[in-house]
Symmetry: C2
Subunit: 405 residues, 2 copies
């Protein structure tokens, strides 16, 4: 990644020098550690010998390798370790002594059953930061339940307020219950690292997917607790301002957000319908919200249908009205803004070849994050890491033969 001034001098990421032992699997935990690795932390991904993280078997595939695994685990080192064996536990504990952070997203209780819970690890290394994510967390009435993203979206109230009023609840397409939880966990880990710099003290922390979903409902909770009113599904509008919706034009969909009186009046003029400004039913935001479906929406539906996306974007851009085409994934990937912001970048993967993956959304101008290494092959860094612990080559070979690594 280039610096903002265009120079390419190497600046290490903000988390340079931090070592993370990463036991996470699937999506939310690996998304957390991807963020840490993108900003310079040394993330050692520890996988089950033989099969590894389940995402190695998640599509899309090329030459037998998973693109899903590849994008999510870039910038990480890889080792295998059978944590059900005594030697595996021993090696893990030796690694803990060298690490700053241990992360897992197993079902609560799993780490304790393996004998590597926080109670054990903090006696080995009191400054360790120990982070866990799960569906429901380590306490509470649902703690032991298994969870997937759709479970969290359903229980957290998100599905009930996504979709159209006359249709069923809708799940957010990508697993936002997962990746938001992973991001909260990354934030928690870095807060703990900051705190440890100040005090020398490590700690345990956790984030639960359902808690995450509840925390991102915007005004829906206070609407209910303050007024006893429940937000329902409102499709693509904003219930408090208008016009703010998606419309179908000749060759696609466009969203428009004329969320102030000035924008509304500019929009009327841009549409060639300045007479709407003085329409008694549409004079204020309040009136436009009240009369949206009966009066305003039909006008916009008809208006948008008469244009192509390019034509509409020209009119709205000229008038300074916030708007955007609804891009599909291909259009988004190939949009000039995406490349200018380095939001899809190349990695040279040893199996997949050159692949294009999502970039680094957090732009730190002093210590830029970057995507500079492919995801590890299963056990790729076993020898280097074990040798750094002083374990001899013969022993490493023996561990391999016995399925410990």
């Amino acid at each position: 990644m280039k610096n903002k001034d265009g120079s390419s001098k190497i600046i290490h990421g903000a988390l340079e020098g931090i070592r993370v032992l990463d036991l996470t699997i699937a999506y939310n935990g690996p998304f957390c550690t991807m963020n840490l690795a993108d900003h310079g932390a040394e993330v050692i991904k520890i996988e089950r010998p033989g099969t590894g993280d389940q995402t190695r078997e998640w599509p899309p595939f090329k030459d037998g390798a998973s693109g899903y695994y590849a994008f999510l685990n870039r910038n990480k080192k890889g080792m295998t370790l059978n944590l059900r064996t005594e030697e595996g536990k021993f090696i893990f504990k030796e690694l803990v002594k060298t690490a700053d952070v241990v992360v897992n997203n197993f079902k609560p209780g799993t780490m304790e059953k393996l004998g590597i819970g926080y109670d054990v690890l903090c006696t080995i290394h009191p400054e360790i930061i120990y982070a866990s994510s799960s569906g429901f967390g380590s306490y509470g009435p649902l703690s032991n339940r298994p969870a997937y993203d759709n479970i969290a979206q359903a229980l957290g109230g998100m599905m009930s307020i996504t979709g159209f009023p006359d249709g069923p609840p809708v799940k957010i397409g990508p697993a936002v219950g997962d990746n938001f939880t992973g991001t909260y966990m990354a934030l928690a880990i870095v807060m703990a690292l900051y705190r440890r710099e100040k005090t020398g003290i490590g700690q345990q922390l956790e984030v639960a997917m359902v808690d995450t979903v509840i925390s991102i409902l915007e005004g829906a909770v206070i609407q209910y607790t303050l007024k006893g009113e429940m937000n329902g599904r409102v499709g693509n509008i904003d219930p408090y301002t208008s016009p703010f919706d998606m419309y179908e034009c000749k060759d696609g969909y466009i969203v428009i957000a004329a969320a102030s009186q000035n924008l509304w009046e500019d929009l009327c003029r841009a549409m060639g319908k300045p007479e709407l400004i003085d329409e008694p039913d549409l004079l204020t935001t309040k009136l436009r919200v009240e009369n949206y479906f009966t009066k305003l929406k039909p006008i916009f539906v008809e208006w948008a249908a008469g244009y192509t996306l390019v034509e509409l974007q020209g009119i709205l851009k000229e008038a300074g009205i916030p708007h955007a085409p609804v891009l599909n994934i291909e259009q988004m990937v190939n949009h000039p803004n995406t490349s200018a912001r380095e939001m899809v970048v190349d990695i040279e993967d040893p199996v997949l070849g050159t692949i294009r993956v999502p970039g680094v959304p957090i732009k730190m101008f002093g210590t830029p994050g970057s995507v500079n290494a492919p995801a590890p092959l299963l056990g790729q860094h076993n020898s280097a890491i074990l040798e750094s612990l002083g374990i001899e080559k013969e022993k490493i070979q023996e561990f391999k033969e016995r399925g410990i690594i």
Copy 2:
């Protein structure tokens, strides 16, 4: 918030000692600083004299005060400052000398026009961390465009993959483009704080809403870049495993995630339909995905329709199948898990009275976050903060009369 061991001894948040000058408005910036304040940072929210943050006029209201403002700005201090005046700029710069972080979410260029861009502030206080969020960021072809959450969801590709295959694109109900951006910015700020502890050097950073949305599309980008295939809208299913969907029962909706062979077989038995296990069309995940809509979905639609939510939950819990009812906001707020996890908590607000707001999703057991102060009245802490800069009472009164504060 109680400690995990049930004791109530006061432990300060992880960010105790950090002072944040918070110029943010609306949702994404204030969501960032709410996270920082929840974990002990001293956040000084600086608002326009007279009107303040626009969210003071966002519903729901009670006794003329906004519940939206109240939940989003809890734990923050409030002062007013007219940054278009020389005295206002002077006071701001004096405050910068005492601060660790400056945060804004104005349109790019606004801070520079006011004469308080990073280039100026870093000469006043070289260690300052200067964070900005906006729709498109400070560079790139769309940099100057205004944005709302729906603009980011549309351009980032999210809307194109949310909703049903036979329906239009759907916006995520709450503004996830906003709150995820705010969370990334909080993470960026804390990474910069950590780095500053190591090196003594501050920095500038930014997060753009469209970049955020692109980064949370899960496998959609790699599916296109690796295979040339585009994810479309898949409603409530997961396209790679089955059965994984939402079904309507007698009195509501339930999601089921039988995402492995074992879970599938357990589910067949729990349904009293063990014969499905040996059905040639449904033998493997691959076959169940292929034949979901023609063969499997009708079976589940009919099965679920015969039960109430309580009955279905009993059957699925007994069998260990991941499932959840689709809760509306009222049901979520009143669910025992929500209170056990302290995900809706009370604040005593001076105007609104006792209100219930979303709690702290990041559970740090060593330095717990907490909700312990209401949002500020407009300019509530003006005198205390200005006096701490050595400004005399008479002068403060004069600033007030002249609209500088």
